[in-house]
Amino acid sequence: MKLVRDTWLIFQRQFLLLVRQPVWLFVGVFQPVMYLLLFAPLLKPALSYLGVTTNAEAYRIFVPGLLVLLAIFGGLFQGFGLIAELRAGVIERSRVTPISRLALLLGRSLRDVVSLIAQAVIITLLALAFGLSVYILDLLLTYLMLALIALMTSALSYGIALVVKSEDALAPLMNTIAQPVLLLSGILLPLASAPGWLQAIADWNPFSWAVDGARALFAGDLGNDAVWQGLGIMAVITVLAVTWAAREFARSVR
């Protein structure tokens, strides 16, 4: 009960600070819209090997990848805000109070989840206007997948920020993590045409399972194994990431 109350307290505070700077929404939507407008038209011919003949089909493959990409990157770069808070003394101030250490993390990460979902909704609506079609239940399950990813990557980012304590170390570290994740997940283009060795490596990338799951959902294939596999893998890693990061919040303080 105390955990729920404390998490809600931190969430409210972080959310208020976020909406006070609405520029994030503009930046967060502007880029993906550029992808939708400028990159997606290139896709229809590029995806012809998958039997894609219409824009709607191209969006059905491209949009879930784009959303997963946003969830990964949106989360991974949240650590910078935490380093600013560390420097301002806000974290130390919270640590001397009896507030739950897990709430300090969850309140922040859930704020990140909510802002990501808001972004995802806007992009989905735009894609619908461009001709995408998707069932509502499938869409909601995709959002669940996105929420798990955002929770995981933002928790990881906060945990790492608490360990390295400096932007100078966090930036290259996050880029190093993000790049192979991006290349090896088939996020922008499905790996169906990739050579066998590349596909074998990608199988070890948890996010490629998430992308497969999201694509199956957008294709209306709810019964596909990729759906529960993707959700399951994301859920397990999220629990691990949150546990670890909460421990970092509590470290040197019992």
Binding site: K2, D6, L9, R13, L16, L17, R20, Q21, E85, A88, G89, V90, E92, R93, S94, R95, V96, T97, P98, I99, S252, V253, R254
Partner: protein, 317 residues
Amino acid sequence: MIETRGLRKSFRSRQGREQRTVDAVRGVDLVVREGEIFGFLGPNGAGKTTTLRMLATLIEPDGGEATVAGANLRTEPGEVRRRIGYVAQGGSTWDESTAREELVLQARMYGIGKAEAQRRATRALAAFQLTEYADRKCKTYSGGQRRRVDIALGIIHEPKVVFLDEPTTGLDPQSRAHMWDEIRRLRAEGMTIFITTHYLDEADALCDRIAIMDHGEIVAEGTPAELKREISGDVVLVSVDGPATAAAKVLEAEPYVNRMETLDGGVRLYVNDGSREMPQILRTLDAAGIMLDSIELHRPSLDDVFLTKTGRSLRES
């Protein structure tokens, strides 16, 4: 209210390639009584902040024991947290929030309900003369206003003990005097206050008792008056025209000089009765042909206490 025994902490830090261990706090024994303003006086790097951070449960001691407000620091850190307030040296406000929001949040983090938190914030804002700025973002505050918000944050939950790490550093003389009044008011309300400072006048005027810390150890403890009394007699400050060494040489041999420190351009003498011995000093210097610039007589200050205990002057360090 606070009792520590042998509190220790060392840090490992890397300098280039070699690992170095800094013994920041090496065995601190302290007793702080209920309802007093206890001052921790020491130069930069003495270990004041480290001691405070240990007592506020922010870092774990390497050794030693402590009870804070009746709770054991090692076995009941949660209980300690509930009973204390802590105001960090570097401040703790967030630029984009207002003072009121920060105060309400802080009260809520201590488990206080929303309505009560708002009431307390309003009261604290008034008490610290912040009402006028209460709904402006913290980034627009002056250093003094910000510091007052920090302190209001530290006491919003009405703790039994509050730790204030250098509450007046960076404030102008008027704001400092104001802050002293605030701190005295907290004492009058029954709070025990543990402050650190490098200002001798602050330790002297504000604190009921002080401990002098140097290199991680407590070198003296008592009321300011007691500490000064330990240095019996008077202090005579002699400045000479020319090198101080010549003056030091002749005066050192004089029987009435209890102790002597050589300074830049002069010497400081500890004597039993300054008003009787000043003429003697003048005669001695005159006989040696040393030109005098000025001569002053004063009662020992805390700086003299610091000097005799550590061999260094706090003013110069």
